[in-house]
């Protein structure tokens, strides 16, 4: 039997079941996907005892949009509907049906009240369910206890979309500054007029095992880092005696040149941070480089035009995350003046 014939037979079985159960659709109506979908939607308003079994059957419809309409209607049938959705979350073969089931099951609930469901969802293979679970987990602050653990788990997700979502949702720092060369309205070539390498020595580092450095104000300019370990940049941290995978913070100071007479922007150019970086200048969050492990050898630049103190000492803090092998600020940092 070919797949096509099987699908046809299956659809026909569903039609028959629907007609028997509800008695509200003609065979002609139920014979095509659009009619079955409309039927599924209509069942939201029918008696639960009759509608839920039919919707349960429609959750296995060969057309995914019929399934998803069934999910939507099940939400209207109280606990009976939710029980079916629980099962759908675990078993339905359509990932979007599972995602919608998850969304409905968690609708109007605080994330702490549906951690079991969310933990299940975080194990879903395709991306959509995990994305939704992660966003819900991160939707309230602060995240404590088991929810924090689940967020930690999500922050290590294999997919950047999930990681970014968690990070964005939980990270209290935000920077909207767009680099000059990335500005869509800047229709001119950007030329680096001056380069000022930052000193490679004189930096401090601290390990952040519980990932709470930012809540301890490690980015503040006046934070006392005298107890931290000395380190150089432009060299990974392992050769300098720090064998660590995870988060660590760098702090250092550099003197900026006098303000040029003519310039359009100033940027800090990082030759390489293995793997991810979050950066503050003079206590102001100026952005991140968070591409996961694949970002370890990619240079990046952050705009500091409005934050830099010209002709004065500037305090720079870099939070680094490394998941494997060598880590740290392993290439130079340069202040670039752009025109």
């Amino acid at each position: 039997m070919t797949m096509k014939r099987f699908a046809g037979l299956f659809a026909g079985t569903i039609c028959l079941t629907i007609i028997l159960a509800v008695g509200c659709a003609s065979p002609r109506q139920a014979d095509n996907a659009e009619a079955r979908r409309q039927l599924a939607l209509d069942l939201a308003k029918h008696d639960t005892a009759k509608a839920v079994p039919t919707l349960t059957v429609l959750l296995q419809d060969g057309n995914v949009l019929v399934r998803r309409a069934a999910v939507r209607s099940l939400a209207a049938h109280g606990q009976a509907g939710k029980d079916v959705l629980h099962q759908a979350l675990r078993e339905n073969s359509d990932e979007q049906t599972r995602r919608m089931a998850l969304q409905i099951l968690c609708e109007n609930r605080r994330p702490d009240d549906c951690l079991d469901i969310l933990e299940t969802a975080l194990t879903d293979q395709p991306l959509p369910v995990r994305v939704y679970a992660a966003s819900l987990l991160a939707s309230e602050r602060p995240a404590l206890g088991r929810r924090q653990q689940l967020l930690q788990k999500a922050s290590r997700d294999e997919d950047l979309a999930v990681r970014s979502l968690v990070m964005r949702a939980t990270w209290p720092f935000h920077c909207d500054t767009v680099r000059l060369r990335d500005r869509p309205d800047w229709d001119y070539d950007v030329v680096v007029k001056e380069k000022h390498p930052l000193p490679e020595a004189g930096w401090k580092i601290a390990i952040d095992n519980d990932v709470q450095g930012h809540t301890r104000n490690w980015f503040k300019p006046d934070f006392n880092d005298s107890a931290w370990t000395d380190i150089k940049i432009a060299k990974a941290w392992e050769p300098q005696g720090i064998n660590h995978d995870g988060f660590a913070w760098y702090r250092g100071t550099f003197k900026a040149p006098a303000k040029p007479a003519r310039f359009n922007a100033a940027e800090l150019h990082f030759g390489g941070v293995d793997e991810c970086a979050w950066v503050w200048l003079n206590g102001v969050y100026i952005g991140d480089h968070d591409l996961g492990p694949e970002g370890w050898n990619l240079p990046f630049s952050l705009d500091v035009t409005k934050v830099l103190k010209w002709g004065e000492d500037n305090q720079l803090t870099v939070r680094v995350h490394d998941s494997t092998m060598a880590g740290g600020i392993w290439k130079p940092i340069t202040l670039e003046i752009l025109e």
Partner: protein, 1090 residues
């Protein structure tokens, strides 16, 4: 009356001095060698043996510059030889050490003789005398003292045509008075002079005929120069020297009176070129007795268009007096040149004399309808633009400085600058290119340093871009907008081919929030309260930084921050109201002009961008995927939807930006393409021809009302090897555009202007609230995920309409089956309510992972980060197109589809007739820029089966023939083949277009109407319920193309046209041929014109 007439350049004057032979030629005093009269301050005559000496005892002598020399061949003996620009560069002419007498107090005059030996490149200046140095406005020290007098060759004029400019410094600023153009052939001596009356009036003379007069109220004496006086070059400079010989350079005290010795035609009608049947008022001809003497018993006769008219004259026509005569242009006559001849007879010094002159008037045929194709360039090359197929080009008609100074609308047509504009307007009209004024009152105010007109941040500091973007919300600038537009309309509103105005360009990019008192008052009035403190940046506030932001990211519609940003982008920054003011000003005289703003969607998705203009437009680069032009066009329709009766135009860049398409030269020079070898440093170069074609079809498939291109320098090789910022690197592009305009836009344009869109059943929401609170949005650059979603839908064969939050609030979602929500992180309550209602009735929501948590999407469309490799990016997006098709199978199908994903279809509809566009998007990396892997610029041939869900008859509107089709299972299918980048347009009508009829009278008298009718019907005579393109060719009795030959549309199967043979047309047989461009049928009929 005088306001209606215009000063005319001497170059156009054909007046002749023809005194009877017995009397001989009357020599005027200025033609003789200069004598040392009392008013002479300094006179350099370069006499042999005393070359450097000043003829005025005690006045400073001259010393030749390195490239200047005293020569024997002056006008009157010795002269000053000037070498022009030399290599190596070094000053030419002569230098006179600075002296107080060289900066006369009060009135003064300068005259000299000049013989040009070589003209410079177009645009270059040749300085005659100068102790000022700065020939432009500057606030630098020493920039505003002394005087200067120089020639300049206009860019668009042939060699020998120059203007003269006088610059005067008044200490803190300067004025520059320029003459009209004069013809100054090489090798001929000319007398050049200017006078300044010490009170603001500058007059410029060429052979003692006045060719320029400027008035600067409130001026006094010039400021004393601090520089040496340079004769024959620019003071302190070495590359703007005069090339030729100068003689008798004279600086005088007081205003000198000059007489040319002729009857000068100083004034005539503002216009000399008219369209047939144009209503015109009386024309005027003003003549000046500039003979140097009174003329006795004068008689003046005017001969024009077969009529002769004697003008009443006084007994004696006194020297320096003007006489004005009226005449009427009969525009009902056939298109031709009509010379107006005037003849004056008088007694001069007791002898009879006769003066004659001629003014040429032209009557043109009216143009058939056409889709406007605008060249966004003010380059004055109308012939080349017309040859490619442009109907309009940009043309700055001024108005800003005039209106700002006067603080009211002013007619400045009768000024040297107005005269230059009119000369160019008439030249363009004569050859058939229409003028699109560029109106930029807001841009004009950028240089104004008054702090009231600046944008200030919350702390009262100037915003970073304050020099680029004046605070145009200020009432003075709003008033300027109206006054400027009205000034242009007053001055040039009666030129019928000035019919368009581009109002500002790229002004929203650099706008910013501002907190001047008037800004705050306006915002608070709108809000009914204070401006929220979080509002510090124009693009919004990220919701994650707002402490009490709703967890489900649904905000009330009256959320204060949202309202503030709504106000700012709609009205608050002043640009939209200013555009509206200019628009109103332009139309204030009843002038028929269509106005537009471009680029109009460099803003968040909120209605009102551009103001209440007739059209909005947007410029877009066509790479990497040319169907993005369709996406950008749809954004414009979404924006225009909020402004009643506003239409949409679309612009494509002819230029490609190097950094985004071919950023670095290949390491191995052997891998460089031809253009990379020839122009390795270019930043903007030519669009690939296949890409251009596809982009054009993408916009034509939408109901746009006009087309625009930008980047003239990348389309053609500029004359004289001139290069601007753009380079022509692909010689195939201009011919391709020419072919597309000739074969597609010109014949089909009138029909396309009549065919509306079909109602959309898929919508893409561009969410303003998400743009403000989650930094989303395309901002018109078509580079964001939201734009890629549009491409995904296009490749899937769907026809989405872009909608805004406001669209949903106004119209709901009832018309749609599918709603796509890309990057819709934050929504307002009303939008969420509408979406839920939409879903309840069966609507399908497609959304990405960022969608507002309150929305339960039916189909998940994960955000795809675009790969830099264009092939990979396209493949990834098309994979999503296929997935969407699969998921929607059985639930939703587009009305029209293609068997090939690379053939993008789109429908429009007139009556019961569908217009199916099919665009070939099959491409690969070519050998133009393909080696950079950022653009697949090479189109490939393709073929597809096209299907539409209806019965009917199919016609190919490009190839003008019926197409074989089959009707199976309720759908009509037919085969189509495509060339690279090619588009096709098929008309699908309910009935066959069997009968084609042309009806006109067998005979008609000249001067009477000649009505003609074309009909298209089925075999039973039922008129086609369609708009059908028709070509009409009219050949008059002389065998020449007649008026109204061109392309039309037969709406509902019928075209009525009324021809108007002129009373002076040649009698005989006219042949009228009509061609049905859907079927290719052609019919000819003749009419005897008696």
């Amino acid at each position: 009356m005088r306001e209606k007439i215009l000063f005319v350049a001497v170059s156009a004057v054909l007046a002749a001095w023809s005194v009877l032979a017995a009397s001989g030629r009357l020599i005027q005093s200025w033609e003789n060698e200069c004598t040392l009269e009392n008013d002479v301050i300094a006179l350099w005559q370069f006499t042999a043996g005393a070359e450097g000496q000043n003829s005025r005892p005690g006045a400073p002598p001259a010393k030749t510059a390195p490239n200047g020399k005293f020569v024997a061949e002056g006008k009157f003996g010795g002269g000053l030889g000037c070498a022009g620009v030399t290599t190596p560069e070094s000053a030419t002419g002569t230098i006179v050490v600075n002296h107080p007498v060289l900066s006369p107090s009060g009135a003064f005059s300068v005259d000299l003789w000049a013989k040009i030996e070589a003209h410079g490149e177009p645009g270059t200046r040749a300085f005659l005398i100068d102790n000022k140095c700065f020939y432009y406005v500057s606030d630098r020290p020493r920039a505003n003292n002394g005087f200067m007098f120089f020639l300049q060759r206009p860019k668009s004029q042939s060699a020998g045509v120059v203007t003269m400019t006088v610059g005067l410094g008044f200490g803190s600023d300067s004025v520059f008075a320029t003459s009209g153009t004069v013809t100054m052939p090489a090798g001929v001596w000319h007398h050049l002079a200017f006078t300044y009356d010490g009170a603001g009036v500058v007059k410029i003379y060429f052979n003692c005929e006045k060719v320029g007069e400027n008035i600067y109220p409130g001026r006094g004496s010039i400021a004393a120069s601090t520089r040496d006086l340079s004769i024959g070059d620019r003071a302190g400079s070495t590359f703007q020297g005069f090339a030729g010989v100068l003689d008798d350079v004279c600086l005088r005290r007081g205003v000198r009176t000059y007489h040319s010795g002729n009857i000068d035609r100083v004034l005539t009608s503002k216009r000399s070129v008219f369209n047939r049947q144009e209503k015109t008022g009386p024309g005027h001809l003003a003549l000046l007795n500039n003979t140097g003497q009174d003329l006795h018993k004068p008689s003046l006769t005017i001969d024009f268009q077969g009529q002769s008219k004697a003008i009443a004259m006084p007994e004696t026509w006194k020297l320096d007096e003007e006489i004005t005569a009226a005449f009427q242009v009969d525009t009902s006559l056939r298109a031709a040149d009509y010379p107006l001849t005037y003849r004056l007879r008088a007694t001069v010094a007791g002898q009879s004399a006769e003066f004659t002159g001629e003014v040429l008037f032209t009557i043109l045929n009216r143009k058939p309808p056409a889709m406007p194709v605008v060249m966004r360039s003010s380059f004055d090359d109308p012939e080349a633009m017309l040859a490619i197929g442009f109907t309009h080009a940009n043309f700055g008609l001024g108005g800003d400085s005039q209106a700002w100074q006067a603080k009211k609308p002013v007619d400045y047509a009768n000024t040297p600058s107005g005269q230059k504009i009119i000369e160019r307007l008439e030249r363009w009209q004569r050859i058939g290119l229409n003028a699109c004024h560029y109106a930029g009152a807001g841009r004009y105010m950028r240089s104004n340093k008054d702090i009231r007109y600046k944008r200030l941040d919350r702390d009262g500091n100037l915003v970073p871009k304050h020099e680029d973007n004046a605070n145009v919300a200020h009432p003075d600038i709003q008033q300027l907008g109206y006054d400027s537009g009205a000034s242009v309309s007053l001055s040039f509103g009666d030129f019928p081919h000035f019919d368009a105005a581009l109002i500002h360009s790229e002004v929203r990019d650099s706008t910013d929030l501002s907190f001047q008192d008037y800004d705050i008052a306006s915002a608070e009035q709108f809000l009914g309260g204070k401006i929220p403190p979080q509002a510090v940046k124009k693009n919004g506030v990220n919701y994650m930084t707002i402490s009490d932001f709703p967890a489900n990211r649904v905000i009330p519609d009256d959320y204060p921050l949202l309202r503030y940003y709504t106000w700012f982008w709609k009205d608050g920054d002043g640009w939209n109201p200013l555009n509206t003011q200019i628009h109103r000003g332009l139309k204030s005289t009843g002038k028929k002009v269509w106005t537009f703003f471009d680029p109009a969607v460099r803003v968040p998705s909120v209605w009102g961008s551009g103001g209440q203009l007739d059209f909005i437009s947007q410029w877009t680069y066509s790479y990497p995927d040319p169907i993005k032009i369709g996406q950008a066009t749809d954004e414009l329709f979404a924006m225009a939807d909020g402004c009643p009766d506003q239409g949409v135009m679309k612009m494509t860049q002819v230029i490609w930006k190097r950094t985004q398409t071919a950023p670095t030269l290949p390491k191995n020079p052997d891998d460089w393409t031809a253009w990379e070898r020839e122009f390795p440093e270019v930043k903007y170069y030519t669009i690939a021809p296949d890409n251009l074609s596809e982009a054009l079809w993408s916009k034509l498939s939408r109901p746009i009302k006009g087309i625009m291109y930008h980047g003239w320098g990348s389309l053609v090789t500029l004359p004289n090897g001139e290069y601007g910022a753009y380079f022509m690197t692909n010689p195939e592009t201009a011919p391709r555009l020419q072919q597309l305009l000739a074969d597609v836009v010109k014949p089909l344009g009138p029909t396309l202007l009549e065919v509306p869109d079909i109602p959309a059943d898929i919508a893409i929401l561009q969410s303003f609230s998400s743009q403000i609170f989650a930094s989303r949005g395309t901002f018109g650059w078509s580079g964001a995920w939201e734009a890629d979603v549009h491409l995904i839908l296009q490749w899937a064969g769907y026809q989405p309409r872009i909608i805004f939050d406001e669209t949903i609030r106004r119209d709901g979602l009832d018309q749609y089956k599918i709603l796509v929500l890309p990057a819709c992180d934050v929504l307002t309550q009303s939008v969420v309510d509408a979406i839920k209602k939409f879903q309840e009735r069966g609507g399908i929501v497609i959304a990405d992972q960022n969608v507002c948590p309150a929305i339960l999407a039916d189909i998940f469309l994960p955000v795809i980060k675009r790969a830099s490799n264009a092939a990979e990016a396209k493949a990834a997006l098309q994979a999503e197109s296929r997935r969407l098709q699969r998921e929607l199978q059985g639930i939703y199908a587009a009305r029209a589809s293609s068997s090939d994903i690379d053939v993008v279809t789109r429908l429009r509809r007139f009556g019961t007739t569908d217009y199916l566009f099919a665009i070939n998007d099959k491409r690969e990396f070519g050998d133009y820029v393909g080696h950079h892997r950022l653009v697949m610029e090479k189109g490939l041939p393709n073929q597809a089966t096209l299907t539409i869900d209806r019965p009917g008859h199919v016609y190919d509107l490009v190839r003008h023939q019926a197409v074989t089709s089959r009707f199976v299972d309720g759908a009509l299918s037919f085969e189509a083949s495509f060339g690279p980048g090619e588009g096709r347009l098929f008309l699908i009508s309910r009935t066959a277009l069997d009968r084609f009829r042309l009806k006109l009278p067998a005979k008609v008298s000249r001067g009477q109407d000649l009505p003609m009718t074309v009909t298209i019907s089925d075999r039973w005579g039922r008129l086609a319920d369609a708009a059908i393109p028709i070509e009409v060719r009219i050949t008059d009795a002389d065998g020449k193309p007649g008026e109204f030959s061109g392309y039309y549309t037969a709406k509902h199967g019928k075209l009525d046209l009324t021809l108007q043979p002129a009373a002076n047309d040649t009698p005989g047989t006219w042949i009228i041929t009509a061609t049905n461009l859907a079927t290719g049928q052609s019919l000819s009929q003749s009419c005897h014109v008696r």
